[in-house]
Amino acid sequence: MIKRYAALIRNAWLVDLQYRASIVLWLLWGVTEPAIALGIWWAIAGDGSVAGYARADFARYFFAVMLINQLTIAWDSWYLDRWIRDGELNYRLARPLHPAHEAVAENIAYKARTASVILVVWLVVAAAWPAVRLPLDPGRWALTFVAVLLAAAMRFFISFTTGLLAFWTTRATAIMELHAGVSLFLAGRIAPLALLPPAVAGVAGALWFRSMLAFPVDLLTGAVHGADAIVRGLASQVVWLGIWIVAYRIAWSRGIRKYGAVGG
């Protein structure tokens, strides 16, 4: 299995290399939203602070959002929607490996390439701009690494499962857009959850949205502290990952029975 994955990842890496100009464009697109949000909060914070967030806190938060969102985002629903509708899924099913493995390998190759670019940019910016420097804390970084893995796995299953809805509806990607719109607030893309009305932040924490992005980001910047809060955050990630895996298994087994596309 490890050998297979190494081959799949190498393959995906080389395909991406062919389209590196395109990947740079997607990367730019991905960082604009947090950059604009940072700009606006920067202006609002002024020389004071908003709900405990001063300018430097916003800068650290949104740099972490850029990095961790890139590491956890999954485009698989768009691919699945297309594969199911135009029949490309057929030959992927004919391979001796579940199509999800190939999708995982593509995610790993894409994220390794793009996130390392963001990381290098962050380091360069941090050299010149103290506001975005993080305290040296290897323990916290190790915990963040685990939280990012859990978030990436969960967002992969959310995206893959939503894409599978294309077995039943032609609007699977619209459902994913809806989810993206909601996660703008609930996952912490537009503002730290601490700045949302408490009831809304509560919903984000009770559902899977905080686990998607806001929790790993807050873990990295240090906004989540104390063993208790960290354990609860990680536990919530594990639970929601489990729930989405179950949802994926149900959608896959039901959908594949229903599927009967021609062509490919």
Partner: protein, 263 residues
């Protein structure tokens, strides 16, 4: 040559309309999608204004006017630019542009206006309705001069955005593997959601001077709310004319580089 333009485009758009009318459910989906994105934009704005009373010197309803302009302009982009000039980069890569160039019409005009995504024109109406509602909330009824200035500024903004698309798409003649170049526009256009004065240092330099996208919404919205004197619209029209001429020149240089090899 010139005389053939109007019946030709007329025929294209008629076919286009007939085709789209088969997919009427798409209209409902498109309007719902637009309403959803307007709602998220308004919620985002409410979140900002939960923690402040003004943004770059603009208050809440003034920025809602700007959001309405942003949506109207998005409608023009989605209805005209993306299905038309937006397909160019892919056609340069695949060589399909050959089929356009052999036609006895102006290639730039043909590429730009051959296809419309008519349902997205609803976004223009929704955007203008939002701007109108925000104006009543502000209690400002624009004068005729302001309305004329607004119309001129909005048309100028559309021309400037068109010129930016032509420039981006022309890059495909030099760098063939940038089929998704429109993504670059989408990224930068996000900056037009807020007034230029709201951005600090580096971002302002990017959105205001490097890629002057933020002006395309700030100026029409300012004309509507009376922040700018109506004469500013004339300056906007001049800038638009200049942008159009430059884009046209770049297009010609790009076409000369093209050596298609389609099948």
């Amino acid at each position: 040559m010139r005389g053939r333009w109007i019946p030709l485009l007329g025929a294209f758009w008629r076919l286009n309309l007939a085709e789209e009318l088969q997919y009427r459910a798409n209209f409902v989906a498109s309007v719902l999608g637009t309403l959803f994105s307007m709602a998220t934009a308004l919620l985002t704005l409410s979140l900002f204004f939960h923690h402040t009373t003004s943004l770059g010197g603009w208050d809440y309803w003034e920025i809602v006017v700007l959001l309405g302009v942003f949506n109207a302009l998005s409608g023009v982009i989605e209805a005209v630019l993306r299905p038309g000039i937006g397909q160019l980069a892919g056609e340069v890569r695949s060589g399909e542009l050959d089929l356009v160039l052999v036609k006895p019409v102006d290639a730039q005009g043909f590429v730009s206006f051959r296809r419309l995504d008519i349902w997205r024109f609803a976004d223009v109406v929704l955007g203008l309705a939002l701007a109108g509602y925000a104006l009543t909330r502000l209690g400002r009824i624009p004068s005729v001069a302001q309305l004329v200035a607004f119309a001129l500024a909005l048309a100028s903004a559309a021309v400037v955005v068109y010129a930016i698309w032509v420039v981006l798409m022309s890059l495909a003649f030099w760098f063939v593997s940038v089929e998704n170049i429109a993504v670059l526009f989408d990224a930068v256009y996000e900056g037009a959601r807020y007034p230029v004065s709201a951005y600090p240092g580096a971002l302002r330099f990017l959105f205001v001077y490097l890629i002057p996208i933020a002006w395309t919404t700030t100026i029409p919205a300012s004309a509507l709310t009376g922040r700018l004197r109506p004469e500013v619209a004339l300056a906007a029209a001049l800038v638009a004319a200049l942008a159009f001429v430059l884009a046209r020149a770049l297009w010609r240089a790009a076409i000369r580089r093209y050596a298609g090899a389609s099948g």
